[in-house]
C-alpha cells in the first residue's frame, strides 16, 4: 500500500458515512457546546449508587454539564437532586463531596433549605416584603432523579422521559448482579484527562483495542472464541457485551492467580466479563469477582473527567474485601494494568485530533456483530447523530 499525498489524506474515506468519523467532532468548540445542549442536558446520567446516600440526610455532590448538583436522601427516604446553587446570590451551598446534613445552609447569608428543596429560613425577611418576595418563592431548583437496580440517575431536562423508558432492557445483564449482591461502593477514583469525551468513550466501545492491553492479550483474547461473542445494541444507543465467548483466564498474566468461582459475585462466574454502556456516559463492567460502575463529565472539547466506583457486597469479610481490592486494582485501579492504558490511548488520539493532524477515524470492522465488530461504535455515533442532527462523518455538512 503506497503512502498518500495530502489530497488523499484529507479526503473522506471511501466508506459508508456510518463507518467513519470526521476529526472536527473531537475539537470543534461549537460542536462541544451543541453536545452539552442536545445530549448531556437531555439524557439520564449515572449520579451515584444509592448506598452512598443510604440514610436520611446523606448527600453526594457532583458537577454535570456545567451544573453543580447535590443528591440527597430526605427525611422521608426519598432521594432528590437539586442544583447546588443558592437562590439568593448564586453561591455554592454544599461544598463537600459527601456527608450528612439536616438541612442546607448557604454560608453567605444563611438562607436555609430543607431536604425537599424548600427555602425554610431567610434572616430578616421583612426587607423583601416591599418587593413581594418571600421564602415560599425561593426554593432550590430540583432536578429529575430516578433509581434503577440501586443506581441513581439524574436528568437536567424537566420534560425528559422516565428513567425506565430511557434504559429499557439495557440493564438486563446486570440486574441480578446489581440487586442480589447487596452492593456498596468500596473504592472510588476519578481522573481528569486531556481528551475529548468521545475519544474516551471510544476506548470503552472499541472491542478491537483489546490488543493494546498486555493483560488482555495474556488473559482473554482467544481468536477461536471470537465468533461466539455477540454484540447487542439496544434502542437509544445503549449496548451490551457479555455471555458466550466473553471469558478470561486471569492466571495468564504474570503474578496473577486464577479467580475462584466461590468468590464470584452472584449472577457471575469467576471467568465472566461483561459490560453495558448506557448512552452516552454511564457504564457497568463486571469481571467475575468484581464490578465497577462508571461515568464521565465532558469539561470542554479537550478535557474529560471520569469517575469509577468499585462495588462489593456489604457482607464481605475482611479477606473477601482484600481479594476484591486486589482484583479491582489489577485492571481498573489508578495503578492497574488496563485503565492507565485506556486513558493514555484517549490522550494519544487527542494529540492528533486536537490539532487536526488526524482527519478521520475508521470504524468499519464488520464481523456480523460478533467478535471485534465496530458495531458498538457505529451504534454510538448513530445515536449521537440523531440527537445532534448531524452526521459524525460530516456527511451533508457544508464544506
Amino acid at each position: 500500500m503506497p503512502s498518500r499525498n495530502s489530497i488523499d489524506w484529507n479526503a473522506p474515506p471511501k466508506l459508508p458515512a456510518t463507518h467513519y468519523t470526521r476529526g472536527d467532532i473531537y475539537r470543534d468548540e461549537a460542536i462541544f457546546e451543541d453536545e452539552q445542549e442536545r445530549i448531556f442536558k437531555k439524557v439520564w446520567r449515572l449520579a451515584c449508587h444509592e448506598s452512598e446516600v443510604a440514610s436520611p440526610g446523606d448527600f453526594r455532590t457532583l458537577e454535570y454539564a456545567g451544573t453543580p448538583l447535590v443528591v440527597v436522601r430526605g427525611q422521608d427516604g426519598v432521594i432528590r437532586t437539586f442544583v447546588n446553587v443558592c437562590s439568593h446570590r448564586g453561591a455554592r451551598i454544599v461544598h463537600q463531596p459527601a456527608g450528612n446534613m439536616r438541612h442546607m445552609v448557604c454560608f453567605f447569608h444563611l438562607w436555609t433549605y430543607d431536604l425537599t428543596g424548600s427555602c425554610t429560613s431567610i434572616p430578616r425577611p421583612e426587607a423583601y416584603e416591599k418587593q413581594n418576595l418571600n421564602k415560599d418563592k425561593l426554593g432550590l431548583r430540583e432536578v429529575r432523579t430516578g433509581r434503577k437496580c440501586g443506581l441513581v440517575f439524574v436528568n437536567l431536562d424537566d420534560a425528559c422521559e422516565s428513567l425506565d423508558d430511557y434504559i429499557g432492557d439495557a440493564l438486563e445483564a446486570f440486574e441480578n448482579v446489581l440487586t442480589e449482591n447487596d452492593l456498596e461502593v468500596f473504592t472510588y477514583q476519578h481522573a481528569t484527562i486531556d481528551a475529548n469525551w468521545k475519544e474516551w468513550q471510544e476506548t470503552n466501545l472499541d472491542l478491537y483495542h483489546e490488543y493494546m492491553h498486555v493483560a488482555l492479550r495474556k488473559t482473554q483474547i482467544d481468536p477461536k472464541a471470537m465468533n461466539q461473542r455477540e454484540l447487542k445494541v439496544y434502542p437509544k444507543g445503549h449496548i451490551r457485551g457479555g455471555g458466550s465467548g466473553y471469558s478470561a483466564n486471569y492466571d495468564g498474566y504474570s503474578g496473577w492467580a486464577k479467580r475462584e468461582d466461590s468468590k464470584a459475585l452472584r449472577g457471575l462466574t469467576a471467568s465472566d466479563f461483561r459490560f453495558t454502556h448506557i448512552f452516552p456516559c454511564s457504564s457497568m463492567n463486571a469481571r467475575g469477582t468484581i464490578m465497577r460502575i462508571s461515568t464521565f463529565t465532558p469539561l470542554n472539547a479537550h478535557q474529560t473527567r471520569i469517575e469509577w466506583r468499585g462495588m462489593s457486597p456489604r457482607s464481605d469479610s475482611e479477606d473477601d474485601w482484600a481479594m476484591r481490592t486486589e482484583h479491582y486494582n489489577q485492571y481498573w485501579g489508578p495503578f492497574g494494568r488496563n485503565v492507565p492504558e485506556d486513558l493514555m490511548a484517549a490522550e494519544l488520539c487527542e494529540w492528533n485530533f486536537g490539532p487536526a493532524a488526524a482527519r478521520y477515524q475508521i470504524i468499519a470492522r464488520e464481523e456480523g456483530m460478533r467478535g471485534q465488530d465496530d458495531g458498538f461504535l457505529r451504534a454510538f455515533y448513530q445515536r449521537w447523530g440523531e440527537l445532534m442532527g448531524r452526521s459524525a462523518s460530516g456527511e451533508g455538512d457544508t464544506p
Partner: protein, 152 residues
C-alpha cells in the same frame, strides 16, 4: 545495631532514585524479602480508606518484569523527598515519615506536579546493610490523570 538518620535518609533517597531511573533490580536489592509496597488514599467521596496498590516483593518483581510491554505514561518521574520524623521501634527497626512530591516530565521537557503525599517507610538494619522493609505511600493527590503502571 541502631539506625542513624543519615543511613535512613540515604536508603530512602536511593529507593526514590532507583524508582525514578526505573532500575527495578537495584530497587529490589535494597528491599527486605518481606517487603510490601502499598499505596493508600482516603476518599472523601465514599468516606473510606482505600488501597490502590499492594504488592509484596515477589509481586513487585513479577510486575516490573512486564512493564516494558505496557503502553504507559510517556516521560519520566522524579520523586522529591523531605525526610521528617524517624521513630526507632527496635534496635534494628525504625519508621521514617517523609513528605514527597512526584513530578512528571514529559517528552518535551515540561514538568508538572503529578502527586504529593507521605511515605511511611519501615527500615531494617541487617548484616548486609539497611533494607526497606515496607513502604506505605499515603497519597494526598487523588486525581492522577492517566494513572501509573509503576508505584509512586
Amino acid at each position: 545495631m541502631s539506625i542513624s538518620r543519615d543511613a535512613a535518609t540515604n536508603l530512602i533517597s536511593a529507593a526514590c532514585q532507583y524508582l525514578d531511573d526505573e532500575d527495578w533490580d537495584a530497587f529490589l536489592n535494597i528491599c527486605d524479602p518481606a517487603f510490601r509496597y502499598r499505596i493508600t488514599v482516603r476518599s472523601p467521596e465514599i468516606k473510606r480508606e482505600m488501597i490502590w496498590f499492594n504488592q509484596d516483593y515477589a509481586g513487585l518483581r513479577d510486575m516490573f518484569s512486564v512493564i516494558p510491554e505496557h503502553l504507559r505514561r510517556l516521560g519520566t518521574l522524579l520523586r522529591h523527598v523531605s525526610i521528617g520524623h524517624i521513630e526507632h521501634q527496635a534496635p534494628d527497626m525504625a519508621q521514617v515519615t517523609s513528605t514527597f512530591q512526584c513530578i512528571h516530565t514529559d517528552l518535551e521537557g515540561r514538568s508538572n506536579l503529578l502527586a504529593v503525599g507521605r511515605y511511611l517507610d519501615d527500615v531494617r538494619a541487617t548484616s548486609g546493610g539497611l533494607r526497606l522493609a515496607a513502604r506505605n505511600t499515603v497519597l494526598a493527590t487523588r486525581d492522577l490523570g492517566v494513572g501509573s503502571h509503576v508505584p509512586i
